[in-house]
């Protein structure tokens, strides 16, 4: 299948076309960002993209939240892809969901997506220069949380003079950010779409993230996070990414895609990677190190670990979301085992018991956690149905 078939090209009527990121300083010495960890941070710059037009009433804003390794480039084709060459042959990460006539219809909505604090795609993070030292922060960067991301994003909306969010939506870690929006600024948010995410990561999920960080930090080039002048801990980061990819696929999808196939004719009886699944993981690992910063991976997985929406209600989801008047749509995928259906289902039940406006759908898919990026047709239908019903009945 060629790229042209898989994606809407920049000239397609269903594509938002060529896009360009914006950068804005949202915290400085006079107005630093106070973080959940207690530290104050400045300067803070944020990279974001927008698609569609803000209407006169300013009530058509859709805020899209990205996942662990995501960025502000949610849709369309990066007109400056020379700077980030991996974007050359593919559009933004949720391009199937965002565009004219798509679920988040840019003919109707003004879509905003910003890169999170601690990342490495234009928003301030551990690879940014610490004004105190003139060197990249590395591990001196403060620990950031999903709560901090939402507070920072609030500043972005203030900057854009936006007070109301029609819909906040995100998959995986982005789903956590979406629910945090509902918790922190319930009066601003009308619809919340939480896809492949629950109120907190499971113990198993915490364990995977911990091993990812061990992998990075035990790379000799890691140098306690101070590696920006020399070689990056690419081996550690690629191991972390390989591990993560196992958690993104389902057992069934892996079996179907690779089975026990070998790359060569038969076993070589040498200690070399030779199963197809190994070379897939190698490919994913090496592709990732060319586009992601190891320290950012550490910080963002940490934010993912810390997040627990239920903690705002003393462990009780009903209590936590008590004051949220929003319409909730929760979506799980049947073979997702990182954010398992049962966790998302449990959250849906709790929101029902709090008599919130909630619907929950488990989309059948073999694609595992990755389904939130793959099952676009089904997910798009669900999202469209929820938005249209909200606009009629809400």
């Amino acid at each position: 299948m060629s790229h042209d078939d898989r994606y809407d090209g920049p000239d397609s009527p269903n594509s938002v076309g060529w896009v360009r990121a914006e950068d804005v300083r949202l915290a400085d010495e006079d107005d630093p960002l106070r973080l959940k960890c207690g530290q104050e941070l400045f300067p803070v710059d944020v990279e974001y993209e927008t698609y569609g037009e803000l209407n006169q009433a300013k009530d058509n804003v859709v805020l899209i939240c990205h996942a662990l390794s995501g960025d502000a480039h949610a849709a369309g084709w990066d007109s400056e892809a020379d700077k980030r060459p991996w974007r050359k042959d593919r559009p933004g990460w949720w391009d199937g969901m965002i565009g004219p006539g798509k679920a988040y219809d840019t003919d109707e909505y003004f879509v905003i997506c910003s890169n999170v604090l601690g990342s490495c795609y234009g928003t301030t993070g551990p690879s940014s220069v610490d004004p105190d030292t003139g060197e990249p922060y590395g591990l001196d960067f403060p620990v950031v949380t999903v709560e901090d991301w939402v507070r920072l994003e609030r500043r972005l909306l203030d900057h854009l003079e936006i007070d109301d969010i029609h819909t906040v939506s995100g998959g995986s870690l982005g789903g956590a950010q979406a629910m945090e929006w509902a918790l922190t600024y319930p009066e601003m948010v009308k619809n919340v779409h939480i896809v492949g995410a629950s109120d907190k990561l499971s113990a198993q999920g915490l364990a995977f993230n911990a091993v990812s960080r061990y992998a990075i930090m035990s790379d000799p080039r890691f140098n306690e996070g101070d590696y920006y002048r020399g070689e990056h801990p690419a081996d550690g980061l690629s191991v972390a990414r390989r591990l993560a990819h196992i958690t993104y696929l389902s057992d069934k999808a892996m079996e179907k895609k690779f089975g026990r196939m070998l790359k060569g004719e038969g076993p070589s009886y040498k200690i070399v990677p030779e199963f197809e699944v190994e070379s897939y993981l190698d490919y994913q690992g090496s592709k990732f190190v060319s586009r992601f910063d190891a320290n950012s991976y550490i910080y963002i997985t940490k934010a993912m670990d810390y997040y627990d929406a239920s903690s705002k209600g003393g462990g009780d989801i009903k209590e936590a979301f008590q004051d949220c008047p929003c319409r909730f749509l929760l979506v799980s995928f049947s073979t997702d085992w990182l954010y398992d259906s049962s966790q998302i289902r449990a959250m849906g039940k709790e929101l029902m018991l709090a008599y919130k406006d909630v619907s929950y759908i488990d989309i059948p898919s073999d694609a595992g956690h990755d389904a939130f990026l793959i099952e676009i047709d089904k997910l798009g239908e669900v999202v469209k149905a929820h938005l249209q019903a909200g606009d009629i009945h809400g």
Partner: protein
């Protein structure tokens, strides 16, 4: 909305503003009218995700849950009414489903096809076949196994489980009648409102 008799009966008996849980809500048409016209706070439970999608499109709050697996731990009296409209005969564990419904709700509203309806008996005896009709739309070999519920067996169950029968209705040759013991073989379908005995 289809013209099902039990739809109309349930619609009439649910008070305005009640909290309602509809188990096996399908495309949400019953809830949709209850919510829109009677100000009910309603939630649907449905196993088939495509049906949930239809309900969501109608603006009905619907959750993709399994009645057999996902309703055990819900707190008592979370809802005023729990509806099992022509659902009970299709769940795996009907007894559990009824007990859960009666625990979660103050009242349970249950409708089902009556297996002791004389036409079913006649078909079995004279033709040697189970009729496949509107009330029981599946053949024996189809995956949706249907539990055979007769009015008398059902009422025995309520007695044995200390469940109060508040109201009863039957569909008798196309007419809705209040339940009377004489309907045990003349009713093609039955509907009962149940509550827990204190």
């Amino acid at each position: 909305m289809d013209e099902r008799w039990d739809h109309a009966v349930i619609y009439d008996l649910i008070p305005k503003g009640s909290k309602v849980l509809d188990l096996g809500c399908g495309d949400g048409s019953l809830l949709s009218s209850l919510v829109e016209e009677k100000g009910v706070v309603g939630y649907g439970v449905e196993k088939d995700w495509m049906k949930v999608l239809e309900a969501v499109a109608k603006g009905v709050r619907s959750l993709n849950l399994d009645i057999d697996d996902d309703l055990k731990d819900l707190p008592e009296n979370s809802f005023d009414y729990v509806i099992l409209e022509r659902t009970l005969q299709e769940v795996r564990l009907p007894g559990e489903a009824l007990k859960n419904a009666l625990s979660i709700g103050k009242y349970a509203v249950v409708s089902y096809p009556n297996i002791s309806y004389w036409r079913i008996a006649q078909s079995l005896v004279s033709q040697g076949r189970m009729p496949v009709n509107v009330a029981i739309p599946y053949s024996w070999h189809e995956p949706k196994t249907v539990h055979m519920i007769s009015i008398r067996d059902f009422l025995d169950w309520t007695e044995g489980n200390r469940v109060e029968v508040e109201e009863g209705y039957c569909l008798v040759e196309g007419e809705v009648e209040e339940y009377h013991p004489k309907h045990t073989t003349t009713a093609s379908e039955a509907l009962f409102v149940l509550s827990k005995t204190d």
